[in-house]
Amino acid sequence: MDKYDVAIIGAGPAGMAAAAQASDLGLSTAVLDEQIRAGGQIYRDVDKAAPQRGEILGKDYTDGTRLTKALRQSAVDHIAGAVVWAIEDEFRISYTCEGRGAQILADRILLATGALERPMPIPGWTLPGVMTAGAGQILLKQSGVVARGAVLVGSGPLLYLIAAQMVRAGLPPAAMIETQVRGDTFRALRHLGGAIRGWPYMAKGLKMLAEIKRAKVPRYTGATEISIEGDGKTEAVTFTHKGRRQRIDCETVFLHHGVVPNAQAARSLGVSHGWDAAQSAFVPELDEWGQSDVAGVFIAGDGAGIGGAKVAEHTGRLTVLKIAENAKRLSTQDRNRMAAPLRRALARELAVRPFLDAAYPPYSAALQPTDSTVVCRCEEVTAGSIRGYAKIGCLGPNQTKAFGRAGMGPCQGRYCGLTVTALLADANGQSPDETGYYRIRAPLKPVTLGELAAMNETTQDATE
């Protein structure tokens, strides 16, 4: 079994930057990623798509080739198409690649597993024709497919980015139904100082808004009581805007109200997490170098707390400095010297976050869905059922999982976890920290019994 100084899970901006730097510092490095090509979600398929669709996707996207190139030119073992389904002590990483189970060993783990779109359980969100805005954008990056007359629902910078990309592709959205309200903007103004320091982001945002306006895409801000309607498939979005009920017919809806750290792997390793009220999500408890409370486990990028692609890149490099010091490849003095410019860059990139978090909070009605709304798609469990289980003694999500199967399906609770915690916290009058989260176990991703059993034979051979 191959053994590395560090194994990096995920080849997005954090993972790619970290891997190249780790290798430069003399660490034997493996990076495992589910996709065939490096890039992560933000730079998905960038090497292939940048030449073809760079104009539509924009410079922030094509910029990713800088990182993919550095990774390619490094001595890093890039294990592509690898679905990691277990990470155990010492560390033994089990993954499936081309239908075969395999393992590597590593002295240290750097989790660069990025973000997940925050689930947006509103009435009708499980109808065919509804997808997350991120999934819609992946289709554009990977296959150049854009939905005609799609309606965008939610809030946040990614929603504007996708709208602008759709405009550039010649298929602008039919409408944008936005959930942020005037009070959010007002609260955000308190963070104006940071916004000004992060002016390049603000300038990009204003440019995207101008593109959307030029294309005459109708925008409904402060929308409430949003519901997707249809008989077996999406037919319309209805909502209340300025006191009036509105209806927009459409076949495709893109939902988005922010992203949250993908903490599945970190949780499976027992890393402590705490509730971050500003980001309305659990984030791992890390020191200033991205080191967790589990020895040898480090986290960088959006999985450490949402900051975006540039922040991910810087934290990836920063964390590797600590790993290199830990592996005695870098003196503490050199580590600190090399960290200084990264920390300055990080501060610049992070300046805008408080403004963005306040200006585009999650849609409150999707954080506490109505009783009849499905919250666990895999097992079709409603918000009302979760509230009912709270009444018969469930204090946390592992108990509701046992009672009602929420979180038992193939997504391993990724799509219902935060909602179930929020529902139970509200029903029991407890904080999200007191309520807790699902116990995450292997398999992090589904694996076949045949693949598992084949590893039994290898394990036995090795001991014979």
């Binding site: 393992q103 204090l395 019994l449 045949g450 059993a453 039994n456």
Partner: protein, 366 residues
């Protein structure tokens, strides 16, 4: 007195006992742990099982049989009371064998037990071909099986849910998120919890699973119990593939195939391991080759609550009369007995079942 009985432990065992006492008109308070507690009630395999139990103690075989016999009626009543159906299937279960030798050796032991039970041990040996007729997906490596007609399986989580709902419906008080630190008996029982609260009760039943190892000695019990890890796998939902359950695999009412279980002495560690999962997967595929293509969607480790001889412990404290220890590793199988028969023992009525062999006298003082 606030409550006739305080039950320490809100799992299947504690709730079954609480349910039985409530049916007799007693007032009951159940003290339950939190979301992260070790909960065998949430991680068990779901068998309502008779065969192979009590090979060295026929009374245990009998006690399991008694419970299995009244299980359906118990489940039906829970279902009617709560509207929460408790799926149960009792059409027999297998002990699958991969070698003639182990099959013959097991049959020999079953015959001995059968004689001690006066012949009430309805089983049949199926060779590979006969088994294949019953189980078309059985693999060629399985040489045969013992089909025991008193065996079956249930949905243990639905049982837990229905019990939790029905205990409340009958007026039982269930306090969640409680960690009991001490039990004293100055005047009735005073049960102190970590959050500073105190519960007063006339009698106490300690049904806290592994928690009894710490609390038991404070109440005059030996409570020589230890954890034993079992890792369990469950696949995606599949069309009907397995007819009857076995200790290796069963198809649950929702369609997934549940595969179990390891027996590991690893202390209070309920994690899963790749070697554990791979070993179970290999055994299940040897029994049912079609499973090789099935996706694993979940796995978990749960901790069995084992006494030195594997049998339940039913003991009234000699130091604190009115305090009872109830613990076993077959809480699902014995749920009906705990709900229907054990209350007579707790209440000391003439109908009390004979549980003499299950007291702590059998454990030497170390």
């Amino acid at each position: 007195m606030q409550t006739d009985y305080a039950i320490i432990g809100g799992g299947i065992v504690g709730l079954s006992v609480a349910w039985g006492l409530l049916q007799r008109g007693r007032t009951v308070t159940v003290l339950d742990g939190d979301d992260g507690s070790f909960r065998a009630s949430r991680g068990n395999f779901g068998l309502v099982w008779v065969q192979s139990k009590g090979m060295n103690q026929p009374r245990y075989a009998q006690w399991s049989q008694q419970s299995a016999k009244i299980w359906a009626e118990f489940a039906n009543e829970l279902g009617e009371n709560t509207g929460q159906n408790v799926p149960l299937e009792q059409k027999g279960g297998y002990d699958l064998h991969f070698s003639e030798e182990t099959l013959e050796a097991t049959v020999e032991k079953y015959e001995e037990l059968k004689a001690k039970l006066g012949g009430d041990y309805p089983y049949e040996v199926l060779g590979h071909n006969a088994l294949h007729k019953e189980e078309p997906h059985i693999g060629p490596k399985v040489v045969g099986a013992i089909l025991h007609y008193q065996d079956g399986h249930a949905n243990p989580l639905k049982l837990l849910l229905a019990l939790a709902a029905d205990v409340r419906r009958m007026g039982g008080k269930v306090l969640n998120g409680k960690t009991v630190t001490d039990v004293r008996q100055p005047d009735g029982f005073q049960i102190s919890c970590v959050d500073g609260s105190t519960i007063s009760a006339g009698k106490v039943v300690l049904a806290a699973g592994l928690g009894a190892a710490g609390l038991g000695p404070k109440m005059g019990f030996k409570a020589p119990i230890r954890p034993q890890r079992g890792q369990v796998l469950i696949t995606e939902k599949l069309p009907k593939l397995i007819n009857r359950p076995s200790l290796i695999a069963r198809q649950v009412d929702e369609g997934g195939i549940q595969i179990g279980a390891t027996n590991e002495e690893v202390g209070l560690d309920d994690r899963v391991t790749q070697p554990g999962l791979s070993g179970l997967a290999a055994e299940a595929i040897a029994a049912y080759p079609a499973l090789a293509r099935a996706q694993l969607v979940r796995s978990w480790g749960a901790l069995r609550i084992l006494s030195p001889d594997g049998l339940p412990i039913y003991q009234e404290s000699t130091v604190m009369p009115g305090a009872f220890l109830v613990t076993c590793h077959s809480g699902i199988t014995l749920a009906a007995a705990h709900a229907r028969l054990l209350p007579d023992w707790l209440e000391g009525t003439h109908a009390a079942p004979d549980l003499e062999v299950f007291n702590e006298d059998r454990f030497a003082i170390s």
